[in-house]
């Protein structure tokens, strides 16, 4: 009998030990959806690298709440319709505690309602369209929104003493129109004057007509909040027409063909951006070093934002001391002055990050860090 009892106790202990073991090995699952293939793959790959780096770092430091963090990454192939399916699978199949993604606003807008319905917090690394976080109180982002860049560049122009500015907008892009609108407001507030407004459409190649009419008003700077493909040609044609005023723009300028096509015409121009690997802030240099060690390349802004999205989530899980979705949501929402790679992040009432933007200048064919502008 005594023997039996001992066996029983031993068995119980073993059983409880093994459960305890199981508990210890239990993982904290975080879902990520990104465009790893397809049209916007370069953005998706970058942000995924940043996110994965952050998760590795968290696990090397002992994980969260005593558990290892497991990142479950799904590829949405840059296709519309995919994010919804994937995020449903992540939430109901994998039972993730939170979802990270995506770069493109249109993809985030597909996933956001599903996260909202299931009350699973979602953090987008780089969707700048204001509508994304308007979906509901479980949707956050760690990047600034479109209008902010317009305001930042207006401040920058005022700081440089450029009072007479012209604006050349891409009317086919909400992004461009949004930036232009806030830039104009910022300029008038700063005592400057918009001397000319002109527009073009995505895909145009000839901008001489617009630039000629801008030239006649003798602006001190020209704000071109478009995408790199057109901006490069605009810069060339402006210089050909003898316009010497610098061009200003936003993060849409970042693209592979900007510098080869624009060449010397872009020297002396400035644009706002999320992040610069040349920023000397220790937190940035530390990140760049870790990124280089893991991937053997220099991180771009998408990688930095991907990294920040995971880090903000980890920080919130720690503060919430659990993964209960309502508590976790509140903890994310309470993020204040978090020292992220892309600037000090505070999430405001609209669940958008208020943080500084980086201004880059172009000098002899290279991006150069100029300053970081606080909101």
């Amino acid at each position: 009998m005594a023997r039996n009892i001992i066996t029983l106790i031993a068995a119980t202990v073993c059983a409880s030990l093994s459960t305890w073991n199981l508990m210890a090995q239990e993982e904290l699952k975080v879902g990520e959806f990104a465009s790893l293939t397809g049209g916007s793959a370069s953005f998706g790959q970058s942000s995924h690298k940043g996110t994965a780096l952050a998760i590795d770092e968290i696990n090397n430091a002992g994980g969260l709440l005593g558990k290892k963090v497991k990142l479950i990454t799904e590829d949405d192939q840059s296709q519309a319709g995919q994010p919804a399916t994937i995020v449903r699978k992540l939430i109901s199949g994998d039972k993730v505690v939170a979802v990270l993604g995506e770069v493109a606003s249109s993809k985030s807008l597909e996933a956001a309602p599903i996260c909202q319905q299931n009350k699973i917090p979602m953090i987008s690394p780089a969707s700048t369209n204001p509508k994304v976080t308007e979906v509901g109180d479980y949707v956050f982002r760690v990047c600034f929104i479109d209008p902010f860049q317009g305001t930042v560049m207006a401040k920058f122009a005022a700081g440089k003493g450029w009072k007479k500015v012209a604006v050349l907008t891409d009317v086919k892009q909400d992004y461009s129109v949004g930036l232009a609108q806030f830039f104009k407001e910022g300029v008038s507030k700063g005592g400057g004057e918009i001397v000319k407004e002109q527009s073009y459409s995505t895909g145009d190649k000839d901008f001489k007509a617009q630039l000629t009419s801008i030239k006649a008003t003798k602006p001190e700077a020209i704000f071109v909040p478009g995408y790199y493909a057109e901006v490069a040609l605009i810069a060339r044609q402006a210089r050909q027409l003898g316009i010497k005023a610098p061009l200003l723009g936003g993060d849409g300028w970042v693209g592979e063909s900007l510098l080869p096509v624009g060449g010397a015409a872009l020297d002396g121009c400035f644009f706002s951006c999320h992040f610069s690997a040349d920023d000397e802030a220790p937190v940035v240099q530390d990140f760049v070093k870790k990124f280089r060690a893991k991937y053997n390349g220099t991180p771009d802004d998408m990688a930095a934002l991907g990294y920040d999205s995971a880090m903000i989530l980890a920080d919130a899980i720690k503060r919430a001391d659990g993964t209960d979705s309502a508590k976790l949501r509140d903890a994310i929402a309470a993020t204040k002055d978090y020292p992220a790679v892309t600037g000090k992040i505070t999430l405001n009432e609209q669940r958008n990050a208020t943080k500084s933007a980086v201004i880059l200048g172009i000098e002899s064919g290279k991006f150069k860090f100029v300053e970081s502008v606080a909101p």
């Binding site: 009317v171 002109q198 527009s199 001489k208 007509a209 000629t212 493909a229 040609l233 050909q240 096509v261």
Partner: protein, 332 residues
Amino acid sequence: MIEFLQQVINGLSLGAIYALIALGYTMIYGVLRFVNFAHGDVFMVGSYAGFYLAPLLIAGLAAEGAAKPPWTPPFAKNSLAGAICVLVAAMLICAALGIIIEKLAYRPLRSRPRLTVLITAIGVSIFLEYTGQFVFGVDPRYFPEILETHTVGNFPTERWHFLNLDDLGLAVTNVQLIVFVVTLLLLFALRIVVLNTRMGMAMRALSSNPTACSLMGVNNDVVVSFTFGLGSALAAAGGILYALMYPSIDPLMGVLVGLKAFVAAVLGGIGNIPGAALGGMLIGVVETMVVGYGEHIGIASSYRDGVAFAILILILLVKPTGLFGKSEREKV
């Protein structure tokens, strides 16, 4: 006033490009009574041919990090001979492409209704666009400077000039002048080919009556191939000059330009060679003026394309054959 003159110059140089592409459209139509919708895409292939050939033929153009050409390029940087060589090579490649397209896609359908061929042309166009995206990549590429662009201070040449453009405050680039001259040269060359050569005579004969033409001992297949080859070579010339002026090329660059050139050809009276050139110039100038001065009469600059197409509709309503087109009675 200077601003206005500058806008006129901008308009004419844009128009010259449209005119150049419209020449190919109009010639193929003039001979075969068929709108080759793939023309704009052959134009795109022409640009890419130049893109890949230029570093092989001209020294110092290989992009940073790209593989160096396997041999020493025969031409020095910024030499006119090198640029002409790239132009001619691209024209030959596209001529071959045009002939192949005609053989594979259009010839088997020659006895079918014209609508069938027209739809096939749209198919060929889409095929070229997406094959281009697959082969060349989607992102815009930088077209190497086969001739360095610089602003021209004195007109017409540095030594003998009667106009000092710098003093006037007018900006004209050498590329704009080259585009203009090449368009005029090709316009005259084309007229000579069509009006003064045996092949041209055969083309005109084929255009007026294919059956009678072949009964007179003309090999229609050869004439059609020649027409397509010539038209596609013109598209390639347009592609190279366009890329020289706007050095960012992508696989879909031919879509809108091709459409504008088509409008130019119809505007001038499709099938009429000088008409196409004039139509192109007109579209270019009108577009530029809409952007430059449209806001004074309540047209936003973003309506430039809309206005170009509105003019087309107006002209077709008033004069359905275009500015220079001859009216033709449909045979019943």
